[in-house]
Amino acid sequence: MTAPLSILIIDDEPQIRRLLRVVLEGGEYRVFEAEMGATGIQEAASRRPDLILLDLGLPDMRGNEVLRRIREWSTVPVLILSVHDDEEDKVEALDGGADDYVTKPFNNAELLARLRVLTRRLSPPGDDSTFESGPLRVDFAIRQVFLHNREIPLTPTEYALLRVLVRNAGKVVTHRHLLTSVWGPNSVEQSQYLRVYMTHLRNKLASDGKPFSGIHTETRIGYRLILDEERG
């Protein structure tokens, strides 16, 4: 990593911006700030940041609108910041192209970890025919899953589910995303399938009688496969 990555913060609260600046500069990021949605879009266009931190509660326009406008021309990773308990807005943002979210008050380590997951996508792709995190190993070429080097027999649906989570490892994956990827676009209402197969998957990945803790439930939003480096 030669040059530090640049981050654009779009938030109307000066205190939050200052706090984020301190935290992020400590994490070797270069930081730009925007106070409003409109200026945020301009900054994003002119500065071409590597990442964007977007607050959903902006005074001049809805955060989701800012996101939509940026997504019209850019695929830059966007992390949503929100104090609202309003899950619907978050789901809308995530389904509308945001990459992940953190809820204020956030934990510094958590924020930096989320950003790291997003920046990984920016580095050139290596060999992604296998995935490994902690005891879990997935071999995409032969469609096999191993836990502690023991093969776990999965049904095609369970495998498909796990694959979507693994492909987005570290990031939250919304219910809608999971349902459309695994069951097709007509199944977005069938969240009961998702619950059933998720439970089966967790039970199959259980070890020592405890369900697999690597898949985290984000209430009302979706699921997240936690990378081993984040745990503990």
């Binding site: 939050i16 008050p105 969240s191 089966h200 369900p211």
Partner: protein, 881 residues
């Protein structure tokens, strides 16, 4: 043509509807006898006793035992509903108390003598109407009936016995019966019973009764009763087959149409049609053709009586208008698929009929095509002329006649003056001219008079030989004949034109009235003004006093607009009856006709909104035309009321919506403003804490901030609960998933207590709002952690459709006097080490209720307390294994 092999969908639908309607209504059983004394009441009581033994709830509405001991004995053990005493002109009459029966609401009520006429001022004039009302409320009825009281058999019975029955029961009631039991006795047996004195004969009957009970009569009556029962049984079988769509020779698709007029023998025609229709299982309808000739009062009343008769005999009664009765009848017959038309034998003058293009029958037969025409004999030669002739209705006024004579006189004078100049033929033209002019002003009768008179005068005074009615040469004869014909025809044509015009005007007046009515209603600022305007307009058009009532709470009526005196208690009960039964009541109707007011319910598509009551002067009539117009008015008023109601609702909804949106915005704003600084404090303290030495005050800041954060969250949650802005978003969830999540998040606040969790099998997916459930669980666990010593138990169980969540601790329990208040907000237990505002439990309650559930608490043994949250939910069709 209808395919005979396939069940008629209309018939199937009608069958279904009938079944549905009847299933909600009570069942009617009629004990039918050929005449008094066959033992109907006895049979009814016997059957009732059996039912009573079977545990049916029976009450006696009214039973006439006529002092017979055997019969009296059968009433023992049956509950009697006391009769009501009615004072009428100093005489006390005892009548069945329908209100008492309705209040008592037994399963089955016994009501003797279905044909009985109630005392004046009773609710209904006839007992069978009481029975129908009872049936409508779902009460089953047993009743008795003699065959001679059946409306359609009245004539036949009268022919046999010579007695015309005054008390009759419409055949529709007989048809309505679910069961008919014939109490049969041979004529000899009955005579024997009479001789033994076992038959009650009214004291005043005397010789008439003897006459009635002649053996010949009894045989004939018995035959009628037997045949009627057989027909009924046959029809029930047919209905059964139709309802079950069982293939059978699909019987008659005949449909009879009878022309109804104001003639007294129209009544006979109606009865005849009903009998034929019943015998051939055909449906039938009555048509009244309203012509442009206005009916006089007597005819109007007779017409209305005939129409009512047809309705009560089960006909569908329709009205149409047209001057050509034959055409109108054929048109209606084609529109309504009638296969047979029933008309009376023509009784008009043959000559006049020829002028009119043949009698009604001739014209019907000529144009009927596939429709059969029945011509039924009129057996009562009366001086009354059929309405088809229509001449008699055209009673001319004396004034018109005088005008006609005066006109002839003036023209005659003029003719005498001018004759030397113009000659007698031209005088004839003068006469013709005067006839033409007068036709514009006179009715048909005076016109004929004038034509006749002028022809005679012309002949008498001007045509040679003068001063005789004799015409000497052919030329004059032809002239006179032609004159007379032209005068008559012109007079006819002109007066017909005028009649049309009159009718047009009448229609226009109605249309104008309606238009004005609609405009007044729409332009009014409020419903109140609109209704006041409406009463004013109705008053003006129908010459009455109007009161409008609207539905208030619990089906009571409140007056909203009235132009006349307030209604007294009796009249109010008429209005209430009309409202509750959704039918017109009071004067001019069959219900409470002695009342001074006429009440119509205001009906919208599915509700009754109120009642309009009209008070007429005693001598006023309220004709068919008026009733139709008034009904249209009522429909308009109903629309207006409904519209107002909807507008009101919409406004209220909008206000609620706005205030909710405002509250939500406000709460979101407060949430943002309070939480942002807290977020800054927490995050800042956290990041500093890492770099500073352990035990610094920074951790105190962080802990205080997170506590403050929780309090703010609780307060905001409470505010959202209070504002009602919490909306559940249901989704399918595995309970294990939710619990894992909660235990993870609440690890810090559980203070190292051990939590035992028990799940139902399967543990999901349940349809829940996971965020609410998580909040409830978190609050319950936090509360339990504060009060427990070591152990917390969290137990889920599912009893479709309730999910029960029990959280118990092993603490000291709750003081009994505190249990009632524990879910109150800001309530803090006096004995415990609680911190916070005492909001946790009230939030649990609020969230549980937002999820349509409930929460309760109790102390458990040996120690501790248990909170129970019940949430209605359902288990997915794809349960977890």
């Amino acid at each position: 043509m209808i395919d005979a092999s396939r069940p008629d969908p209309d018939a199937l639908l009608a069958g279904l509807q009938r079944e549905q309607r009847l299933s909600q209504q009570g069942r009617l059983k009629i004990f039918l006898g050929m005449c008094p004394g066959v033992g109907k009441t006895y049979a009814m009581l016997l059957s009732a006793q059996q039912q009573e033994e079977d545990g049916i709830d029976i009450a006696v509405g009214v039973v006439e035992t006529h002092g017979r001991i055997e019969t009296q004995a059968l009433t023992a053990g049956l509950e009697r509903i006391p009769l009501k005493r009615v004072e009428h002109r100093g005489i006390t009459l005892e009548e069945m108390d329908i209100d008492a029966i309705l209040a008592r609401k037994p399963d089955l009520v016994l009501i003797d003598e279905l044909a009985h006429t109630n005392a004046p001022n009773s609710r209904h004039p006839k007992r069978y109407q009481d029975v129908l009302e009872l049936l409508a409320t779902g009460i089953n009825v047993y009743t008795t009936l003699n065959v001679q009281h059946l409306e359609s058999h009245r004539d036949v019975v009268a022919q046999i016995t010579g007695i015309i029955m005054q008390e009759t029961v419409p055949d529709s009631v007989f048809d309505r019966a679910n069961e008919v039991e014939l109490i049969d006795l041979t004529a000899e047996q009955l005579r024997k019973r009479i001789d033994e004195g076992k038959v009650y004969l009214a004291e005043n009957a005397g010789g008439a009764a003897d006459n009635f009970f002649r053996e010949g009569n009894l045989k004939a009556l018995r035959e009628i009763a037997l045949r009627l029962t057989a027909e009924k049984a046959d029809r029930q079988l047919l209905d059964f087959l139709k309802d079950r769509s069982i293939k059978e020779p699909w019987r008659s698709r005949e449909r009879l149409l009878v022309a109804i007029g104001p003639s007294p023998y129209s009544e006979r025609l109606i009865r005849w049609t009903r009998r034929i229709a019943a015998a051939t299982h055909a449906t039938w309808m009555g048509i009244y053709v309203e012509s442009s000739i206005a009916l006089d009062e007597q005819n109007k009343q007779r017409l209305s009586k005939n129409l009512t008769l047809a309705r009560s005999l089960g006909a569908e009664v329709l009205m149409t208008s047209g001057d050509n009765i034959a055409e109108a009848l054929l048109r209606m017959a084609k529109e309504h698929n009638a296969t047979q038309i029933v008309v009376g034998k023509p009784m008009g003058n043959r000559f006049i009929e020829m002028l009119r293009g043949g009698s009604l029958v001739d014209r019907l037969v000529r144009k009927s095509g596939e429709i059969d025409i029945y011509v039924v004999r009129a057996d009562k030669p009366t001086p009354w002329r059929p309405q088809f002739g229509a001449w008699s209705n055209n009673v001319s006024r004396l004034g018109d006649c005088i005008k006609a004579i005066a006109a002839v006189f003036i023209v005659t004078l003029l003719g005498l003056l001018l004759k030397p100049l113009i000659g007698y033929t031209t005088v004839g033209l003068l006469y013709l001219f005067s006839v033409l002019i007068m036709a514009l002003f006179l009715r048909r009768g005076p016109m004929v008079l004038m034509a006749l008179l002028s022809a005679l005068t012309w002949n008498f005074l001007f045509i040679e030989p003068k001063f005789t009615l004799y015409v000497s040469n052919v030329h004059d004869g032809v002239l006179l004949g032609a004159y007379f014909l032209v005068a008559i025809v012109v007079g006819q044509l002109t007066s017909r034109l005028r009649r049309r015009e009159f009718l047009e005007r009448q229609r226009e007046q109605q249309a104008t009235a309606l238009y004005q009515f609609a405009r007044e209603l729409v332009s009014a600022e409020s419903l109140q003004t609109a209704l006041v305007n409406a009463t004013r307009l109705i008053d003006g058009i129908f010459q009455c006093r109007t009161s409008v009532f609207l539905k208030a709470e619990k089906n009571t009526l409140t007056p909203v607009a009235a132009s006349g005196p307030a209604l007294d208690d009796h009249e109010l009960s008429v209005a209430t009856w009309a409202f509750l039964n959704k039918e017109a009541a009071g004067r001019f109707t069959n219900t409470l006709p002695q009342s001074a007011i006429f009440c119509t319910p205001l009906r919208s598509r599915d509700h009754t909104l109120g009642v309009v009551a009209l008070r007429f002067n005693p001598d006023v009539t309220f004709g068919l035309n008026d009733q139709q117009l008034f009904e249209t008015f009522c429909a308009q008023i109903a629309v207006l009321i409904e519209r107002d109601f909807l507008r009101h609702k919409a406004t209220q909804f909008e206000i609620e919506e706005n205030s909710q949106r405002l509250q939500k915005t406000l709460l979101d704003c407060v949430s943002h403003e309070l939480k942002t600084p807290l977020a800054v404090i927490t995050t800042a303290a956290e990041s500093l804490e890492k770099s500073s030495s352990p035990g610094s005050l920074l951790s105190e800041i962080r802990i205080a901030a997170s506590r403050l954060n929780r309090i703010v969250s609780n307060l905001l949650n409470l505010a959202r609960i209070e504002a009602g802005t919490i909306k559940t978003s249901l989704d399918w969830w595995d309970l294990r998933e939710i619990v894992t999540q909660v235990l993870d998040l609440e690890k810090a606040s559980l203070l190292e207590r051990k939590v035992d969790v028990e799940f139902p099998n399967p543990s999901g997916p349940f349809e829940l709002d996971a965020a609410l459930i998580e909040q409830i669980l978190a609050n319950l666990l936090r509360n339990a952690a504060r009060h427990s010593n070591h152990q917390i138990t969290l137990r889920f169980s599912f009893e479709d459709p309730q999910l029960e969540i029990r959280v118990s601790d092993d603490g000291s329990g709750i003081a009994p006097e505190e249990i009632a208040h524990i879910f109150d907000k800001f309530y803090r237990s006096s004995s415990t080490k609680t911190d916070g505002l005492g909001l946790g439990l009230s939030i649990i309650k609020g969230f549980a209720e937002a999820h349509h559930g409930s929460v309760s608490v109790q102390n458990i043994k040996p120690n501790g307390s248990e909170f129970l949250v019940r949430i209605p939910t359902r288990l997915s069709n794809h349960p977890l294994q």
